[in-house]
Symmetry: C2
Subunit: 414 residues, 2 copies
């Protein structure tokens, strides 16, 4: 059919009104009645009965929308699976696509046999079954979760890396559980208890030391994610959720909390999740994920197909609280424009931002920069590298740059 949008009045009207032209839209004028009656094959026979699959799955046409591994894994059970941010909309990550990181595979835990032990500097050491925990008053909150190793761009990074490769270790869900402060109140935290060891019931027995102040603030013992019980790879049946903190501190398959007066100096904090500063000092207990954002579309593999209207959309977040501002630049940082933030804008939660843009077909450098309610502004790559030095690895939150070429191809620029 002729493309009315490319000729005459309607094109000018569209451009005037909304600033975008729809090159692929067909005028259906000569044949609207025929088109209405021109039935596609799926209208000519009954569809599939849904009762064959009482738990639904995505369309077979979406089979490429899956988690991928970020590279060669040291062992099959050291998982590192990235969320396909380029294919997602809104802020909620479906549970089947939430990022995964573990050190010993996913244990198959029988919830009726799972216990949580609370001991150490408490008045009454207690052991809880899942039924005991779910009897506490419940709370639901939508929070992001980010691996501290997300965005491994200190040294590596290839031009064809997708946003799934560069930023796919962040996801967002509505978590439900009980306030850890309620559970600790039952055990009775003793004066002087300043740290809490959290241990997972996986083969790696991941353990982290958490400040008691955080445990008593907004920590949740989570048993549900996006309405349903946790997925096995997210910690089924119980996970420690520390809003805004590094993902690895949100211990999965949680089996033990031990209160003490000092950090426990586990292997995860004496070596792995530390950061070597320029002066040779290792930084420990760097818990909060900083203000960060990324444009998810356009992005590598998802470039605009032709010049004209092109919405720039992405995600922003901060472990310090709410995102208050996201600015977008299309010229590598010379001019910044405020993007619209999609409601609801929640603390320690992914925030979707959007900016209408008309691509002139020329080269462009697409960037986003977020500011959180604490006033922290996402730094440039140059500033971040200068401050942290070349031995740093975790907590990379620099402004990301996508290079848009005249043909519509998008690549990572470092």
């Amino acid at each position: 059919m002729p493309d009315k949008a490319d000729t005459g009045i309607s094109r000018r009207r569209m451009l005037r009104r909304t600033g975008f032209a729809l090159a692929g839209v067909s005028s259906a004028a000569p044949s609207a009645r025929a088109a209405a009656a021109d039935l596609p094959p799926w209208m000519l026979e009954q569809g599939a009965p849904v009762s064959e699959n009482p738990y639904g799955v995505p369309s077979p046409f979406e089979k490429s929308v899956v988690r991928i591994t970020g590279g060669k894994q040291p062992f099959p059970t050291s998982a590192h699976m990235l969320t396909p941010l380029q294919d997602l909309d809104g802020i909620i990550t479906p549970n089947g696509l939430h990022y995964v990181r573990d050190h010993g595979g996913t244990p198959a835990i029988d919830p009726d046999r799972h216990r949580l032990l609370v001991h150490g500097m408490v008045d009454r050491p207690l052991s809880f079954g899942m039924d005991d925990l779910t009897r506490f008053p419940s709370v639901s909150r939508i929070h992001f979760l980010e691996c501290s190793g997300n965005t491994p761009l200190y040294k590596s990074g290839k031009p064809d890396w997708s946003v799934q490769m560069t930023h796919g270790l962040v996801s967002c869900a509505e978590w439900t559980g009980v306030r850890l402060s309620d559970v600790l109140a039952e055990a009775g935290v003793q004066p002087g208890a300043a740290w809490m060891l959290a241990e997972g019931a996986d083969a790696a027995a991941l353990t982290r030391s958490i400040p008691v102040a955080k445990a008593l603030d907004d920590a949740i013992l989570a048993y549900a994610q996006n309405g349903e019980r946790l997925r096995p790879e997210q910690g089924y049946p119980l996970r420690l959720l520390l809003p805004g903190y590094e993902g690895n501190t949100c211990v999965k398959w949680l089996r033990r909390l031990k209160l003490g007066d000092q950090p426990f100096q586990t292997r995860e904090e004496t070596s792995k999740y530390t950061s070597l500063m320029p002066d040779g000092i290792a930084r420990q207990f760097n818990f909060t994920m900083e203000a960060k954002s990324v444009i998810t579309r356009p992005s590598p593999g998802c470039g605009p197909k032709q010049p004209g209207f092109c919405e720039i959309s992405g995600l922003a977040w901060s472990g310090h609280g709410r995102v208050v501002r996201v600015e977008v630049s299309t010229d590598g940082g010379a001019i910044w424009r405020d993007a619209a933030l999609q409601d609801p804008v929640l603390p320690k939660c992914l925030t979707r931002f959007r900016l209408p843009w008309t691509w002139d077909g020329g080269p462009a450098l697409l960037q986003s920069r977020t500011t959180d309610e604490k006033g922290e502004v996402q730094p440039t790559r140059e500033r971040l590298l200068a401050a942290r030095g070349t031995h740093y690895y975790y907590h990379y939150n620099a402004i990301n740059t996508w290079r848009l070429a005249p043909g519509g191809e998008v690549t990572l620029a470092l």
Copy 2:
């Protein structure tokens, strides 16, 4: 292990502080060190590699948390699958558990071949492919969706019906798409166009007449649900989303919008989705779902296991806007107490409510009553039946009553 909670100081302290006793909690005092070292079997071997299943699935221990059919279906492809509300937390329904209702099964639509025709009383009839539509500016909103036939309690209803059976045709998701008003602006709605026919591309070719005022207000052409593309049974690749309206008007597999000056009087509105009033007049075009709520726990199959603390939790919603109040009664409506509403409270969205309660072990009648921002208050069953008569069927939104027996069993009371 001895149960410290049943004896002495700690029980009194718990009751004093939080009002609930945890009968199943074990004191771990004599053996906290041993318990910490007593490793469960899943810590003794490596877990499963996640990469075997890049799109995740729930734990095998949760296999009973699925949609069920609400009764005998007239044909295998006339689906009627209910959300397991008793097993869910928060407000988001996972896509695999969103309720389903269709009249001709689920078509398997190739998105690259799917078209949306906009014609009738428009200046420029247009035909859009999916790539054309997704180029429009996008919008995401969290909304409930409810079948107008949800809660079939005018005449039927058995004491052992679960909340899945009574209220399972309501679900909630974050929907993403484009504003229908933007798309209609491209076509140019002609003066006098007051109604819009929406047609689905399934074998049933479901068609409904929608007021143009609604189409231009908050209607969305939705292509994504909870982040990912729509599931096939939810309308993949395109669904008309009319926030607050009957589910059947939110036409799935949307292929055609025709503007006209009168309603189109399709079979779905001359017979099926009409309501016979006491005076013998059939009520048509009763679009908005009214203020409603239900307690999801305790509920049949999910009664308290022992007297003591028992959180009452449920869901409230209204097609008119925000829920502003939910009251809960435990004595069949004599005394009402305000429940807490979980943030975020969004318009035309499920709202989770909670009330701490101490069950004395005696018989109780549990009810919830919602009030929306328009001032509409959920009616009693008696008032609703008196107003609508016995031939009515759709839009049942009366206060629901669960009967709690001394043993902890919960049944539906009518």
